[in-house]
């Protein structure tokens, strides 16, 4: 039981059909152990949110083609439906959204929004559920929680709302928390407080977390392991230490050096020249090639496979072909 991974995504493909076709996720593999914190890193549009939404089966079924397999604690979640899907969402896996001001219902109080979740999942009465809500607000350290229970989202500050959102997400003790850029919309100081809070709660509850961010500094700060996404797939993965010390993929290196240059100014990562691909067609070559400073002729000929430069690491870049021979 203990060696069942918490999450196993294999060969996930997500394609949106609409006025414009978007190959948002292309053959993504990812796994996560029990209680592990993974940083999922990538530029805007690289498919981070789509990955998380696929995990919660939140993508609009009509316009979305999904295939591949997603298993949580060994159970296939692609086939869940009806009541079982509802109890999986928010019960086993839950999500914190980027913009709490938009993710909370504006006309319900915080207490009601937490309590209704608890009532659904545990089948308890409203009064008991409110107790749980109060307890959760204390756990996320919201001052005067009794009063805050009766607040509407617009009556709270951004940081407070995100704490409430975290309280909501954790109220049913999920095994896996998906945090989709939970601090991007917040001020720097509040951002750090939320990061510390998440790490603490993770220790206390022992859940696994996928922490999505486009800020490599944040990813490094919070997670034991990071996976870097580009154009709908992971291009490099490894322990945080290894990645910082010895990034292999040119994209990761670009991110790191851009970040090092700009730490003081706090600017974002868009320092790598060029723009990400449009994803209108299925990728058949290295998607980073047009922007890659190290591109080889072979890079335009096919998809680079994963190379394993060390334990717990993988890199999708042809440069590793020679490197592993060392």
């Amino acid at each position: 039981m203990t060696d069942t991974p918490l999450l196993e995504i294999s060969d996930l493909n997500v394609r949106f059909d609409g006025e414009r076709t978007v190959h948002a996720i292309n053959g993504l593999n990812l796994s996560l152990g029990q209680g592990e914190m993974l940083g999922l890193l990538g530029e805007s549009g690289s498919g981070k949110s789509v990955t998380l939404k696929a995990l919660l089966r939140l993508l609009p079924p009509k316009r979305t083609q999904i295939d591949g397999s997603i298993r949580v604690n060994g159970a296939d979640i692609m086939t869940l439906s009806g009541r079982r899907l509802s109890s999986y969402r928010g019960g086993e896996v839950s999500m914190v959204f980027q913009e709490p001001a938009l993710a909370l219902d504006p006309v319900y109080t915080i207490g009601d929004q937490i309590a209704e979740t608890v009532m659904r999942h545990r089948g308890i009465g409203r009064k008991a559920a409110m107790e749980v809500a109060l307890d959760m607000l204390m756990k996320v350290r919201i001052p005067s929680p009794e009063r805050r229970l009766k607040n509407y989202p617009h009556e709270m500050s951004g940081g407070m709302r995100q704490r409430a959102m975290i309280a909501l997400a954790l109220s049913c003790r999920p095994k896996l928390l998906l945090a989709d850029e939970p601090t991007t919309a917040l001020d720097a100081t509040v951002q750090i407080q939320i990061l510390l809070l998440l790490r603490e709660l993770q220790r206390e509850f022992g859940m696994g977390i996928i922490f999505v961010t486009h800020d490599i500094g944040v990813a490094v700060e919070i997670s034991e392991r990071v996976a870097i996404m580009y154009a709908g797939n992971i291009v490099e993965e490894g322990s945080t230490r290894d990645i910082i010390r010895d990034a292999r993929h040119p994209y990761t290196r670009g991110l790191l050096s851009a970040n090092l240059h700009n730490v003081a100014k706090g600017t974002r990562l868009e320092a790598i020249a060029g723009a990400p691909p449009s994803l209108e067609t299925e990728p058949v070559t290295c998607q980073f090639a047009p922007r890659c400073p190290n591109a080889l002729p072979a890079c335009e000929k096919g998809l680079p496979p994963f190379f394993v430069p060390g334990p717990g690491r993988r890199v999708a870049c042809l440069l590793e072909n020679g490197a592993t021979a060392d």
Binding site: L58, G91, R120, H154
Partner: protein, 314 residues
């Protein structure tokens, strides 16, 4: 909340005064002499003057306004030139009839409009949505007096099921005879608000369903019914105000529909007052209708403030 209420009430005063002044002026800028309709064709200049003085029409306009307003606040809207009866009594009787009709039409229009709008918004871009939208557009654009005439031809003339004219004998009661009189005019009157409410609700519901928090509600494991409840709560304030405005229009009575069905409401009264150039009656009716509208708006605003937590109440 109390402060909000008081402030809102205070805002009503200048509006009400403005409305009364406009009512008063409207009639005076209309061309034609109001007395010609009732004056004998061969009346001498002297007789005309006497008549004018009797109705107070010889004084300067501001004086006439102040006198008129002073009496109006005491419930005296003057006498109808055509019938000689007090305007207040006639208007109150007509308002009651229009209220009953408006109420009956709302009873049909609001539940149906809300239901259709929700259906279309929920199944956005499906055939249901297209069907509802077509019906709504047809409802808004069909001339409703024409629909009234068609209904009369079918149900009164051909089938003989329902009466075509009037509100039934005696004072209004919710009994079978009176109800059978109200069915056709109420249906006719409800068509436009059905279309408007349905279209508004469709847009509103569609918009709410595409908001981020709906996805977040699903993400926390709520069922479809729970999410629907959230959507309803979010749609309620706007939906309510649209219905309030529609109710305001309905209360004003429809001149065309009341005329088609000979329904003795404010619309009917207005059209009589206009055709007979009955100045006091026209003024009184318009004034009461306008104040009614102000009152309905006030009620809607207050109700909206009560149910929508986002509106600041202080």
């Amino acid at each position: 909340m109390l402060v909000y209420l008081l402030r809102r009430l205070l805002y009503v005063c200048p509006v009400a005064i403005g409305v009364s002044a406009i009512c008063f002026m409207l009639v005076h800028v209309a061309p034609g002499d109001p007395l010609t309709a009732i004056m004998a064709v061969d009346a001498t200049a002297q007789e005309q003057e006497a008549m004018r003085a009797a109705y107070g029409l010889d004084k300067p306009l501001p004086t006439q306004y102040v006198i008129w307003l002073g009496k109006a606040v005491q419930g005296d809207l003057g006498k109808s030139i055509a019938s000689g009866r007090p305007v207040a009594g006639e208007v109150i009787g007509a308002v009651q009839n229009s209220l009953v009709l408006a109420f009956a039409a709302s009873l049909i229009a609001f539940p149906l409009g809300i239901f259709l709008g929700f259906l279309a918004g929920y199944f956005r871009d499906s055939w249901i949505d297209r069907a509802v939208t077509t019906v709504a557009i047809a409802g808004v654009s069909l001339p409703n007096y024409w629909l009234g005439i068609v209904l009369v031809i079918i149900f009164s003339v051909t089938l003989g099921w329902l009466p075509a004219m009037g509100a039934g004998d005696g004072a209004w009661m919710w009994d079978f005879t009176h109800l059978s009189h109200i069915i056709l005019p109420a249906i006719t009157l409800s068509v436009v608000p059905i279309g408007i409410v349905a279209r508004t609700m469709r847009a509103l519901v569609g918009e709410i369903y595409s908001m981020d928090f709906v996805q977040a509600l699903y993400a926390k494991g709520l069922h479809r019914g729970d999410v629907l409840r959230h959507v309803v709560r979010n749609a309620a304030p706007t939906g309510l105000s649209v219905m309030g405005i529609q109710l305001g229009y309905l209360l004003g009575g429809s001149i065309l529909i009341e005329t088609v069905f000979n329904w003795p409401g404010t619309g009917f009264l207005l059209s009589n007052a206009i055709f007979q150039r009955d100045l006091p009656l026209l003024q009184g009716t318009i004034l009461v209708l306008a104040l009614f509208f102000v009152l309905v708006n006030l009620t809607v605003d207050v109700a909206q403030a009560i149910i929508d937590p986002r509106i600041k109440r202080s």
